[in-house]
């Protein structure tokens, strides 16, 4: 009898040890995997409690193209960027769902570049978005929509199943900070890039011929976003942020497709392609990677340009006269300029 009790207790303890080790090591290994800035772009939103007039949703063109600090400083519009790397439209939809569960902004701005993905382009980058979300029904739906064929759903609950092969790269620091909360490295979702790497004007390569229209699956999710915003009484605004690179080229045919879509659904669509002069973009200074993405100087110009549209055409309120809101944003703007280096 005594041996039987010992057997049961030791088996139970072994089970607890395995579960504990699985969770702990999973956290350590996942954290080591996410040890880069772009793995922590969505988490900052969960710490904000004040409402926003505008929510930006989309991929890198959003979190490196629109600056909430500038938008408030110049137009008094409160905003937050819910962008992440290669955020697909199905991820955007579920992130929007999650956002609209928490607040009801006046407008949602969606950057349309990711519509050219018909399926998740990269498992590892997709995970950076998904794993940065807090657990919710929307997160589970986003995982289901994003999973590639080789992935297992279980690996999102037990990260050790995905990241175990990184055991040989761990160092002692990884063990110390496994369960630490990540500091928000963004400015209301905007990821600052301060250096410049100009467009290579000697590069004469042309974009490849467009193969097909925007995939049906992407348009289906855009339809869902449109319906959701209508249901919640939020205005959906479509934008295409500027770029000067043949990688992620925005084809005129896609642009026409978006114009038609916006017209059909009664939405506003603003393409900033070919608007460099109006915006004031200088691709020899305003990009940090040869025209693919904007640096902080380019992003501020784009925000100034788009903020004017938001204020004038979409009637968003200027909160700069509201001392309570201004006080909050003053702090954020200071933090923004602290990193930027000048005011």
């Amino acid at each position: 009898m005594k041996k039987r009790i010992i057997r049961i207790i030791s088996f139970a303890l072994a089970l607890v040890a395995v579960i504990g080790a699985t969770l702990y090591l999973g956290a350590v290994l996942q954290d080591a995997r996410l040890d880069n800035r772009e793995g922590h772009l969505l988490c900052g939103y969960y710490d904000t409690t004040d409402p926003h007039d505008v929510i930006f949703i989309g991929d890198c063109e959003v979190y490196e193209g629109f600056v909430p600090a500038t938008l408030f400083e110049e137009y008094g519009i409160t905003s937050f960027v819910r962008g992440s790397s290669q955020q697909t439209v199905w991820q955007s939809y579920h992130i929007l769902e999650e956002t609209l569960e928490r607040e009801t902004p006046k407008a949602v701005v969606f950057n349309v570049l990711a519509l050219h993905y018909g399926k998740t382009p990269s498992e590892s980058i997709s995970r950076m978005s998904l794993e940065d979300m807090e657990w919710s029904k929307q997160k589970i739906d986003a995982i289901r929509a994003s999973m590639t064929e080789e992935e297992s759903f279980l690996s999102y609950f037990l990260p050790i199943l995905r990241y175990h092969s990184r055991w040989s790269e761990l160092d002692s620091d990884d063990f110390k900070h496994a369960f630490d909360k990540h500091a928000d490295i963004t400015h209301q979702g905007y990821l600052m890039q301060t250096h410049s790497d100009p467009v290579d004007t000697s590069d004469t390569r042309q974009p490849e011929a467009m193969l097909e229209a925007l995939p049906e699956r992407a348009i289906e999710y855009l339809d869902k976003m449109t319906a959701l915003c209508k249901e919640k009484g939020v205005e959906l605004i479509l934008v295409k942020a500027p770029t000067n690179s043949i990688r992620y080229y925005w084809y005129p045919e896609w642009d026409a497709q978006m114009v038609a879509y916006a017209e059909k659904n009664g939405l506003a669509y603003y393409s900033m392609i070919g608007k460099d002069e109006e915006i004031g973009l200088d691709w020899s200074k305003d990009t940090y990677d040869k025209g693919l993405h904007l640096n902080v100087y380019g992003a501020e110009k784009v925000t100034s340009y788009f903020g004017k549209i938001l204020a004038e055409d979409h009637g968003l309120t200027d909160h700069r006269g509201d001392s309570a809101i201004s006080a909050i944003w003053e702090e954020r703007i200071n933090s923004y300029y602290n990193e930027r280096g000048e005011k």
């Binding site: 030791s10 992935e151 092969s165």
Partner: protein
């Protein structure tokens, strides 16, 4: 369904729960349904072939059973009226009829096996494929485990013909015997005497059996995922780059380790799964790398396959009239000694050729089979010499160093023969083998060459630790399996179980970035 998957573990857990919760008399139905579900994951076409084997073997054994009953009744009824010679003649005639029945059954099942495994090879006039896949233009099918259930079915039909197994009258119970899921993907090739009655019997939950079965499954995962699959990239690199010299020797050693971990690990998962359900499947391995000779090695490696070929090919072949004629001819022309051995040697070579072809319809398997046969025959021919040496130096013979030398020699010899699997190209294998005589690059592996084989130093360390653990476990399992010893020491046993789990989770080669989790014998030799 791959054994090395969470899907299989979930399937086994649910099946076990249902199995022990339902009334005992329907447990076998749960196993049959489980086997159907397990097989359904492999696709509809594969299921058709399984059903074909079940139906053919069932009909064959029913006919054999009825003929045996009729013969018995006839002999009983004519006990007084027939002479002894008349009875003998009738029995012989009747037996020929039964032989025809069993031969038709064997022919049909062999035809389906040949159709799936080899037909496209003939159509393409190519001897280069080794998997159980057939392809006609766009039609390609994979039939999981067809070799195993075909061999199980043929073995059962022959056993019934030989009156060594009872006839199963219930079609569904027969279906369960042929299709019992754990043994479908990679064996063992069980006989009716091994599992027939067990599958019919009722089973109560037994904590010891379940715990030992679980530990055995984990041990199988450890061998497969932490050792075998971890070394696989090195093997792939040496083969794809056609590296010679010391790398060829490394390939022989690494491939032996890999196939041992992969195959014995898979069998551990199979036997452990069955053990949890209270079914004891026949063992397939018995510390093969401790063998002192090739013949001993084949008595310890893939034992159920060896037994199958011995019982159903080697013995019947040795006793045919043609072999007796050959023996007579040999005695007359080549002397009594050789004439006596000629049928056995011929049957040995044919059996090994068949074994090679069973592994795959490719030249490398043909050469592999023949080499095994030739080595065993040479070893037997040299036996008198060994005996003399043993008699002359008994102390040396029994000394640990000499025994170890024999084990290492056998291991190296088998590793060398086995390497034909790697290249799937006989001339290239010989070419790389001969490169060891003129390419002296041993220094390279100590100057970073080893680290350029797609495996890092830390991974080598884990593999090395894994091999040492495997050797220790093998050593501690001589008298009885270590898991049974650990059952008696629950704290240590459960601590080891937990450590195994964690080691597999962290160091195992699974998930994204790893593509080696399909079993070699479950995939190639299906």
């Amino acid at each position: 369904m791959n054994f090395a998957s969470f899907g299989f573990l979930a399937f086994l857990a649910i099946l076990t729960l249902v199995y022990f919760l339902v009334p005992k008399k329907v447990q076998w139905i749960v196993l049959l349904v489980g086997s159907v579900v397990f097989y359904a994951f492999a696709g509809f076409v594969g299921f058709f072939f399984l059903l074909f084997a079940i139906v053919i073997s069932f009909v064959t054994v029913q006919i054999l059973g009825k003929r045996q009953a009729a013969l018995k009744k006839y002999l009983e009824d004519t006990k007084e009226t027939l002479t002894k010679d008349e009875r003998k003649a009738y029995r012989a005639k009747h037996k020929n009829g039964s032989l025809l029945v069993v031969c038709i059954g064997i022919l049909l099942l062999t035809a389906s096996l040949v159709y799936v495994k080899y037909l496209s090879g003939f159509i393409n006039s190519s001897l280069s494929f080794g998997s159980g896949a057939i392809s006609f233009g766009s039609l390609a099918i994979e039939v999981m485990g067809i070799s195993y259930y075909t061999f199980i079915s043929i073995g059962y039909m022959i056993d019934v013909y030989r009156e060594k197994a009872a006839v199963e009258r219930n079609f569904f119970r027969h279906a369960l015997f042929v299709s019992f899921f754990p043994q479908l993907a990679m064996g063992p090739i069980s006989r009716y005497a091994d599992t027939g009655e067990q599958l019919k019997a009722t089973h109560s939950f037994d904590a010891k059996e379940s715990w030992c079965g679980l530990l055995r499954i984990l041990w199988g995962f450890f061998k497969k995922l932490v050792v075998a699959d971890a070394i696989a990239p090195t093997i792939g690199y040496i083969v794809s780059e056609k590296l010679g010299g010391i790398y060829f020797i490394l390939l022989c050693l690494f491939y032996s380790i890999r196939i041992y971990g992969d195959f014995t690990g898979g069998i551990d998962i199979v036997l452990g799964s069955a053990q949890i359900l209270g079914i004891k499947l026949p063992e397939n391995f018995n510390r093969p790398f401790s063998s002192k000779s090739t013949a001993e090695y084949w008595n310890r490696w893939h034992m159920t396959m060896g037994n199958w070929f011995t019982n159903y090919i080697f013995y019947p072949l040795s006793l045919t009239k043609s072999m007796q004629k050959l023996s007579k001819w040999g005695r007359a022309k080549l002397g009594v000694g050789i004439g006596k051995r000629l049928p056995v040697y011929t049957a040995t070579i044919i059996t090994w050729l068949a074994t090679g072809l069973w592994h795959g319809f490719a030249w490398n398997f043909v050469v592999w089979g023949l080499l095994n046969g030739v080595v065993i025959l040479i070893s037997q021919e040299l036996n008198p010499l060994y005996e003399k040496f043993r008699a002359r130096f008994p102390k040396l013979w029994h000394s640990a160093p000499y025994q170890s030398f024999m084990a290492v020699r056998t291991f190296l010899l088998m590793s060398l023969i086995r390497v034909f699997d790697c290249y799937c190209d006989v001339p290239l294998t010989f070419d790389r083998f001969f490169s060891t005589f003129y390419t002296f690059n041993i220094g390279e592996i100590f100057n970073g060459g080893l680290l350029e084989l797609n495996v890092s130093l830390t991974q080598y360390i884990v593999i090395a630790v894994g091999i040492v653990v495997m050797m220790i476990v093998s050593r501690l399992s001589i008298k009885k399996p270590l898991r049974e010893t650990l059952w008696e020491k629950p704290v240590l046993g459960n601590a080891i179980m937990a450590l195994l789990c964690i080691a597999i989770l962290v160091f195992g080669s699974y998930g994204l970035g790893f593509d080696a989790s399909a079993f070699i014998y479950g995939g190639t030799f299906n």
